[in-house]
């Protein structure tokens, strides 16, 4: 069975028409993982026994005619999504032996839909990074070119989906961590509206920005997964009280008359010409499909990076204070007092990027600097949000590049944090404003995938996916596969 080219939609159909069983499909995926993991290193943990158990249950469900689109289909979860009884490490030394005693809401929802978990995806430690080189476990390689990064922080999920090691994965996106690796690995990655998908059980990085979303081969697959995970959750106080629609119904292919804006601030100096060409071609394609294109302006965009790199570390410094070596996680040995134990636990348990962000956050929140950094950033956040509100009065969707460059070589940007942070320059504003964004493949530059990003107003996922789907089907780039 060739699982590499197969989409989630196709796999589900195969099961429901009894052309394959979930056990067969799961074994095929586990074989694929065994074959390519030495090259990609997309998995921190492979859950073979659990997967087979869930596959057998799914087959029973299918036999009774109770199968949904996800029933029996193998998937992966990023390793910061809690899974009861399955190690959840956040690719860190701090949580290397942590086994959650409960499931994240998204995991439970997928299990309820009959999904089969084949393992947990590698990531930048505590989701901090843009290349998955900050993982304390291993470096993930881009399936399109093994000497290059898969992007980050959901690099494991992106590489796994691109290499056919599972039909879909869930990532988390704080400043672009779903969309940027999706772009660099040539797949579809959606960051939903903040609050549409429950964060209960997601290991917190920056709580006001984090959002879980699907990473898939096609927009239709993405809508199928979103259908299963969206919706209100009383266990998450930031969860929106909405009843989500069936997102697949929006995928009509018809975008005639839709107003699509091209924000001029997103076409900046320093963007690779090959990336710009693909995105410009995508814009022409949208026009051909009957959309009304126009120039948009979001003048506060140049502030977004600074706002993000103040707010995210500030929240991270508070969220990561819990890793004190007492209740769970790594605990330093040979310390005589509690304070010394705490300092040494964090010194030995956290990697350099995590320490750097805790330090920035602690500084930005400290007395004397709070107003100048944190409060100022929160005010500029309001400006950025207002500008999106204004621009979405004129346009239904915005179209931008996802990342200024294609996948870069491993080690190329690790020495300079600021250079690394620039990878997220086009994805960050959506997190700051809480709006949804999706990245779709828009062609190749030097043989490497380029992503185009669509943004929409709060809770406009239907319009967003409608445009992404129409473009994807017309352009046909989603049919390309990495040759790993």
């Amino acid at each position: 069975m060739n699982v590499v080219g197969m989409t989630l939609e196709e796999a589900g159909a195969l099961l429901r028409t009894k052309q394959a069983t979930s056990v067969e499909l799961t074994l095929a995926v586990l074989d694929r993982i065994n074959a390519v993991e030495p090259k990609t290193r997309a998995y921190v943990t492979v859950t073979e026994d659990l997967a087979m158990q869930q596959a057998r249950k799914a087959d029973e469900r299918i036999a009774k005619g109770q199968a949904g689109p996800l029933t029996g289909v193998p998937m992966q979860l990023k390793d910061n999504i809690s899974t009861k009884g399955v190690r959840t490490t956040c690719s860190s030394k701090m949580l290397s032996n942590f086994v959650p005693v409960y499931d994240a809401t998204v995991a439970r929802k997928l299990y309820d839909a009959g999904a089969v978990l084949v393992g947990k995806g590698n990531m930048d430690e505590f989701a901090m990074g843009s290349s998955t080189e900050n993982s304390a476990v291993q470096k993930t390689h881009n399936p399109w070119a093994l000497d290059r990064v898969p992007g980050g922080s959901s690099g494991g999920p992106a590489a796994a989906v691109a290499a056919g090691e599972g039909f879909y994965s869930l990532g988390s996106d704080t400043g672009g961590s779903i969309r940027q690796p999706a772009a660099l690995c040539g797949i579809v990655g959606l960051k939903p509206t903040y609050g549409l998908v429950s964060r209960y059980g997601l290991v917190a990085f920056a709580s006001s920005l984090d959002q879980i979303g699907p990473m898939t081969k096609t927009v239709k697959d993405n809508a199928l997964v979103l259908n299963a995970i969206a919706g209100n959750d009383p266990s998450d106080s930031t969860s929106l009280k909405v009843t989500p629609p069936d997102y697949t119904k929006a995928l009509t292919g018809d975008i005639k008359g839709l107003r699509i804006g091209v924000p001029k601030e997103y076409f900046v100096e320093g963007m690779q010409p090959g990336v710009e060409k693909c995105v410009r071609d995508a814009i022409k394609m949208l026009e051909k499909l009957g959309a009304k294109l126009g120039e948009a302006s979001l003048p506060s965009t140049p502030y977004a990076m600074a706002v993000y790199y103040i707010i995210a570390p500030s929240e991270a410094s508070a969220n990561l204070a819990r890793y004190d070596g007492v209740k769970y996680g790594y605990s330093a040995k040979n310390a005589s007092t509690m304070w010394e134990a705490m300092e040494r636990t964090k010194q030995e348990g956290f990697g350099p990027e995590v320490k750097r962000r805790i330090m920035i956050g602690t500084y930005a929140l400290s007395a004397g600097y709070y107003d100048a950094y944190y409060l100022k950033a929160q005010k500029v956040r309001t400006l950025i949000r207002r500008e999106f509100e204004e621009v979405f009065k004129k346009f239904d969707v915005l179209v931008t590049p996802t990342s200024p460059s294609v996948a870069f070589k491993m080690g190329e940007k690790t020495a300079d944090p600021v250079q690394m942070y620039l990878n997220d320059v086009f994805t960050i504003p959506a997190n700051i404003a809480g709006i949804p964004g999706v990245s779709v493949q828009a062609g190749l530059s030097d043989g490497l995938p380029v992503g185009v990003q669509f943004l929409a107003s709060h809770l406009q996922e239907e319009t967003l996916l409608k445009v992404a789907h129409a473009y994807e089907q017309a352009a046909g780039w989603h049919k390309l596969r990495a040759k790993v």
Binding site: G195, P234, A306, Y309, I358, K379, P417
Partner: protein, 95 residues
């Protein structure tokens, strides 16, 4: 904003993150560089602008005040680095 090694040492104390001398040296250069990029914010006019903490409304979620099953003691202790009987064990607080 240039941060000295001593200032970085002070921040690391506040954050309770232990650091070696080499780390403090490296961090002072990197943090200064990052803070320099934050200066751009001073150009933004935020007079009369309220701060946004969350992009969604955050409400306190209340459930019925009824007893219900919680995690067992064994489950809670399963991930604790050290425990003894019904207690989590920590290092001495007073020297």
């Amino acid at each position: 904003m240039k941060l000295t090694k001593e200032e970085v040492r002070h921040i690391s104390k506040l954050a309770r993150v232990g650091m070696t001398d080499d780390e403090l040296e490296l961090m002072s250069g990197q943090l200064s560089n990052i803070l320099e990029h934050f200066d751009v914010l001073q150009k933004a006019n935020t007079e009369g602008v309220d701060a946004t903490g969350h992009s969604a409304d955050v409400n306190t979620v209340m459930r019925r005040d009824e007893p219900r099953p919680s995690l067992s003691r064994d489950e809670v202790f399963a991930n604790a680095p050290q425990h003894e009987g019904e207690f989590v064990r920590i290092k001495a607080v007073l020297e």
